[in-house]
Amino acid sequence: MDNKEEELLKRINSMESSLKEKMEYCRMLEEINSGLRKYLNEMTGVYRLLEAMNTVKSLEKIYDLLVDILGSTIELDACAIFLYDENGRDCRAVKEVDPEKLVKYKQIFNVDRAMYEWVFKKKHIAIVPKGTEGRDDPGLAFFQSKSFAIVPLFVNEKKVGYVDILINKPANTITQQELSLLTILLNQTTVVIENLRMYEQEKETVNKLRQIDEMKSDIMITTSHELRTPLTILKGSSKIIQIKMKEDMWNDDDKKLYAELIHNVNTQAEILEEITNTLLAATKFENGTLTLNKKVVNIKQMIESVIKKYTYKTKNVNLKFTYTDPNITAYVDDEEMKKVVRNILSNAFKYSEENGDVYIDLSADAKTFVVSVKDSGPGIPAEEKEKIFDKFYRMDRALTRRTGGMGFGLYLSKIITVQHGGTIWVESQVGRGATFYFRIPKEEGFGG
């Protein structure tokens, strides 16, 4: 080998080693590049989630986004997000990706209750180990190309839920970065979910408060309106009496007028009393302080005593009372029961046509008695049937102006019936009158 050849060989060798060096650099650069790409991808995921935290207001969208981000940052195969209800008791899946596969692998990895309990105690992500059984089973090796992770979800110290994740790579190749990324993503999402849930709850509370506020305004308006009529009549009647007394006129016509005025005063005072009593009873019922003064009562006699008081007012209506047995007795509050009968009757009278018929009937079985009142009024549309027992409800019809009176009566009747362990309802068709029923247990402890 001459010098030239030797020189050439040297140069080739040096070129070769320099090429090798360059290739090594290239490989390193490639490695750095792929690392950076991966990192960029992960950070994009975190960024997307952070961005969504400020804008997305729907839980569903957050779940979708989370699954999407998990899919692009870790090799997600299947997953399910479980959240506890507000009481921390029931846990249900709010988002699932391929749940059948997840269940299958849950069995393969033998993920049991004890695993979850441990994860919740430790409050951090854990990947379920293969378990000792079948460790050397070559068939199992296939399944171990995947790993099963459980991530507990906490906000502060509160257990919010958990996520089951099937990752498409074996546990030993999952990097610290991937684990911490999973933790960060899920922790952040948990905060978002909790905030959104609280937001929803607040919204609900605000709506409820608004409803209560509206109801209060309704009560104010209705009450003041309804109080005004009897008060006007009372004021007018007493004013006339006052004037007449000054004039000292006592002829027969005046006597008749006095009688009428005094009757007005009485009637209106009774109406006022009823309104006040109902308001009082409703308040007591709502705060749970309404008490009954129960004794054994003959129901037929009780109904008759109500009817007697009413007959002088019911010239225009034909009232018929029927019963299956005159000796039906029940352990009830006599005065309160009378209120129910009176309210239903007065309702029937109000809505009945001139010279119409009102039927009141009493029947009983072994444990309960039922009173029904049928009128010949205009009837009640189906959609109104439930509402008429609500507080201050009154059908918005021209008729109400004629009949006056508040929707209190039926509401009070419902309160008393419920307090006795009974039920109240109405059957009706528009144009064919209405029949009100109430069923009360004869003795304490028997449901109607």
Partner: protein, 291 residues
């Protein structure tokens, strides 16, 4: 052995020479490096640990101990890593390695009871973790607190090994003079204290930099700039000292530094939970004490 009552600079030079310092096995710094790399996985750690058979056995023994209470047997280091987490396994490795250095390798009976010392280190580690969990929970922080607890008195081992007679004097003095804290006596006799030496060892061992301050100032937390971890370590040290005598939280509370407690926002009822849990966890920590 030289007289340590020289200037602090000379002392530092001495330590720089590293001649007397216990050598941290190579494996620990390698483990630390792997844990520091976020793109490492369980395979990387397993590969390293499995080179040391006895370390593998010890790590698995600890991983399966009642202290971690995992419902299934953990059979491989990989499983230990994916179940318990990288940082926990790092602590397991560190704990069993240090146990060898601190307890097993001390040949003869010494005045400085290494077993008692080790028990205190483990109690401080567990307590520090509980304190973090009660005040600012997070797996990373909890594991870091544990490591600091195990390491916080490493300076004492150094003193006992290399400056035995002076350290013996410190202990004798400390028994006589209950009012003067041991670290002050150390300063008087050795011109330095175990906290300072400990922090230098951490530095020499190439352990994470953020371990230096909490260890250096664990008796004087007011001087630290990393207040949180230093306070955690300070309070954990005191609690574990007293809990060797009593697990009565209010009695322990009376002896704690108000300022440190205030900074940690630790109320007496949190403290009660910590002390109760410490009692429970210590009863499960047998393997740590005799690994």
């Amino acid at each position: 052995m030289g007289d340590l009552k020289e200037t602090s600079k000379e002392l530092k030079d001495l330590i720089q020479k590293m001649d007397d310092l216990p050598i941290l096995p190579n494996i620990i710094s390698k483990v630390m490096k792997i844990i520091d790399n976020p793109y490492s996985n369980a395979d990387h750690l397993t590969e390293l640990i499995s080179m040391d058979q006895s370390l593998t056995v010890k790590t698995l023994k600890l991983a399966n101990s009642a202290y971690y209470g995992f419902p299934r047997e953990i059979v491989t280091v990989t499983e230990a890593v994916v179940v318990l987490g990288f940082l926990t396994v790092r602590n397991l490795i560190l704990t069993s390695t240090l146990y060898n250095i601190f307890v097993n390798e001390s040949q003869e009976e010494r005045e400085f009871d290494r077993r008692k010392f080790w028990k205190h280190s483990v109690a401080t580690a567990i307590c520090a973790r509980l304190l973090v969990s009660a005040t600012a929970p997070g797996q990373k922080e909890e594991e870091e607190a544990f490591t600091l607890g195990i390491l916080h008195d490493v300076g004492k081992v150094f003193m006992d090994t290399n400056y035995h007679s002076q350290f013996f004097e410190v202990m004798r003095e400390s028994k006589k003079n209950k009012n003067e804290p041991a670290y002050a006596i150390e300063r008087r006799i050795l011109n330095t204290d175990h906290a300072e030496i400990g922090s230098m060892i951490i530095d020499k061992w190439n352990l994470p930099e953020n371990f230096v301050e909490p260890i250096k100032f664990h008796h004087t937390p007011g001087l630290a700039s990393d207040k949180y971890m230093t306070n955690v370590l300070h309070v954990a040290d005191i609690i574990s000292k007293f809990s060797a005598i009593t697990y009565d939280a209010s009695e322990i509370n009376a002896r704690l530094d108000r300022e440190a407690m205030g900074t940690l926002k630790l109320q007496e009822e949190n403290l009660r939970t910590v002390v109760q849990n410490l009692e429970y966890e210590m009863s499960n920590a047998d393997l740590f004490l005799n690994s």
